[in-house]
């Protein structure tokens, strides 16, 4: 009966094979619904809803609970990170850091203490020095993309908002560079390959800076000549950004560093404000939503059982360490202690940046990555739910939400 009906209606193949687009669409629908619920009924950031959908995806056995982020997942994450980090970078004013040197100091101190805390806990947990060192940027890095997303979504404004953006952008920059240096160090340590050991970080930074400068000049040219309220001009900028990302991937450069540095260069090459729609409109918002679902999808029972406790300890010690710097230097940099505490909360989560750094480590040194993965993935999974709430609480404590 069914067969004849299927034959009559020419449904082929039967039973149907839901492809990538089906799952993508379903994810988008669920994320939009849960994001809406979070925002409307709980007044929490929508991104928390995306994370919950990700956890649900993981619980039905379709999660991403290993360190290899490849195929379509990697493409979506790279795309979304490029958009978010470019936006984040474009908020970093080097002029501000020149005028307010205490902010530089705060950035250096909170990053150093954060990476140091991650290293110390991993080392204390019995990992070898080089493994713990490689894990430091993965577990010490701030959740720049999440911060950028929540700042844009909640329209928060004030000193804590400005500083959480700048500090997380700089922290991401340090983490990627540190990661490359440490990967170079691993080549030196494990394979005694000096050329690889030095060339890796030099190329990573030099190449990324060059590409970022080209991107910034190109975007700056468009911004000066076209009105970014026009959809076509926004698509042009989006296209340039994707082009730069593709070049970075082709040349083996960091997909985090190029857009982030591109944004920083754009902001600082000219003082003229560059304003575009959030995440470059709906086209950009789609990968961003799916990426936060993927971050939530790192949730896995066995993984949490093996790395959950260590992840919690790393996150706790890291929060304390960063808090010491952010609260201790608050007054010197021009804010109150309460604002320093709020800032510490916003710098507590880890998110997609850690996932990408872990995936890069997995690609170059799978044995090292395998040792870090349980704690790192557990931290990312836990923070997929707690992260948006912590950042939101920080902004509330600072009274910067509308």
């Amino acid at each position: 009966m069914t067969d004849s009906l299927v034959h009559l209606l020419k449904i082929d193949p039967w039973p149907p094979h839901p492809g990538l687009l089906f799952w993508l669409a379903l994810t988008l629908v669920c994320a939009a619904v849960f994001g809406g619920v979070m925002h409307r009924y709980l007044r929490l950031p929508r991104v928390l809803g995306y994370g919950i959908v990700g956890v649900a995806v993981a619980l039905v056995g379709m999660g991403t609970s290993d360190a290899t982020l490849d195929g379509t997942d990697r493409l979506i994450v790279d795309l979304a990170m490029a958009l978010l980090l470019f936006e984040l970078g474009s908020r970093v004013s080097l002029r501000w850091l020149r005028v307010n040197k205490a902010l530089w100091l705060t950035s250096a101190a909170e990053s150093m203490l954060g990476f140091g805390a991650a290293f110390a806990v991993l080392h204390e947990a019995g990992m070898a020095t080089d493994v713990a060192l490689a894990g430091a940027p993965v577990l010490g890095v701030a959740a720049g993309a999440l911060i950028g997303r929540i700042a844009a979504e909640t329209r928060s404004a004030g000193q804590v908002t400005e500083r959480m953006i700048v500090l997380s952008a700089l922290n991401t920059l340090y983490a990627v560079l540190l990661g490359r240096v440490l990967i170079g160090g691993l080549y030196l340590g494990h394979q005694h390959d000096i050329v690889q050991g030095l060339a890796q970080p030099l190329y990573a930074f030099g190449g990324a800076t060059l590409l970022a400068l080209l991107l910034a000049h190109a975007v700056g040219w468009v911004v000066r000549r076209y009105d970014l309220r026009d959809e076509n001009s926004v698509l042009l900028v989006l296209g340039l950004l994707l082009f730069a990302l593709t070049l970075a991937r082709m040349l083996g450069l960091s997909g985090l560093l190029v857009p982030l540095l591109g944004g920083v260069c754009l902001r600082n090459l000219s003082e003229r404000p560059c304003i575009w729609p959030r995440h470059f409109g709906t086209a950009g918002a789609m990968p961003v939503v799916v990426m936060f679902v993927l971050v939530g999808a790192t949730w896995s029972g066995p993984m949490l059982a093996s790395g959950g406790v260590l992840a919690l300890v790393v996150l706790g010690v890291r929060l304390l360490a960063k808090g010491v710097a952010l609260v201790g230097l608050a007054s010197l940099s021009g804010i109150e202690t309460r604002q320093g505490m709020a800032l510490a909360l916003t710098q507590a989560p880890v998110s997609a940046t850690s996932l990408v750094l872990l995936a890069d480590l997995q690609a170059s040194h799978p044995q090292v990555a395998a040792q870090i993965a349980p704690a790192a993935l557990s931290a990312i999974a836990l923070m997929a739910l707690a992260g948006p709430v912590l950042i939101y609480l920080g902004l509330r404590l600072a009274k910067e939400l509308p």
Partner: protein, 373 residues
Amino acid sequence: MSLGTFADSRSLTLGVELELQIVNRHDYDLCPSSTDLLRLMKGHKLPGDVTPEITDSMIELCTGICASHAEVLEQLTVTRDALVGCAERLNLGLSGGGTHPFQHWSERRIFDKQRFHEVSALYGYLAKQFTVFGQHVHIGCAGPDQALTLLHGLSRFIPHLIALSAASPYFQGEDTGFDSARLNSVFAFPLSGRAPFVTSWDGFNAFFDKMARTGVVKSMKDFYWDIRPKPEYGTIEVRVLDTPLTIEKAAALAGYIQCLARWLRVDKPFEPSEDDYLPYTFNRFQACRFGLEGTFVDPATGEHRRLRDDIDASFAALEIHAMELRAEDAITYLRRELAGSGNDAGWLRARHAEERLLPELVRRQCLRWAGKE
């Protein structure tokens, strides 16, 4: 409830208050950071004061009591430099101008102070729409009767002052076609407009008591008049000016008002009367809408003149008084501007025609306010 006594003050002394815009340096929208800025300003010794305003993306600075235009400029320079320095530490911009060109009133937040919450509760959205920025000039008066006479004498020059100071052509992202769109927000308040024609302090007290009895007002602060007496300072306060884009212009406008006051007091060129107010709202509208090109109807003769020409004529009449008050530089500044961009609204429109981006316009305003353009 009464007005109390009219404080002693030296005749023709000056005091200036300026409401400023606090903007972020990313998209140059208003930024709710007055608390942070005020905290950093606590460490600075100022000749005047810096205080919060109704929404937390505004800040007010004021001078102390000044004798001359030069002293006003000196005090404003000290406070401006301190404010700009603190703002830079916080990555904020400070800007003059009567309105922020593209802010949306609904996004504003009321500053956490009891009076501001009361105003907000009473006036609703008007309070947030009141995120507009004006310059107030106080003129010292030897006694209350003299103050009221001066108030009504100066009322004839309200259109001149509006046209000269106009710096708010853009509002909520659009060119309003007005040179001073700011005053449209002020006119929405029920107790805005002109003071009643009363020339004795006893008469004014009687008026205030009757108003207080109705429960409509509690203090002079409830009147949003264009010029109002300020008994506790012993001054009258001119309130129609948009905050100019520079402190030099703000000081020049204060100097011009001081000269007008001396002219009215010493030469007594006309006797104020209720009939002066017949074309008052027409003249005021013309000044707001068309600025220096607006029509001025002379209340005494009914003659129609261009405001630009009448202002030019007033400069000539004030020459001797400017010399006496050492305010020649103020008049020279305004004369030069009249011959150049006209007023700040003209400067803003010219820059926007070049840049075609309102956030860039605000950035240029910030540079101008900081004395860097």
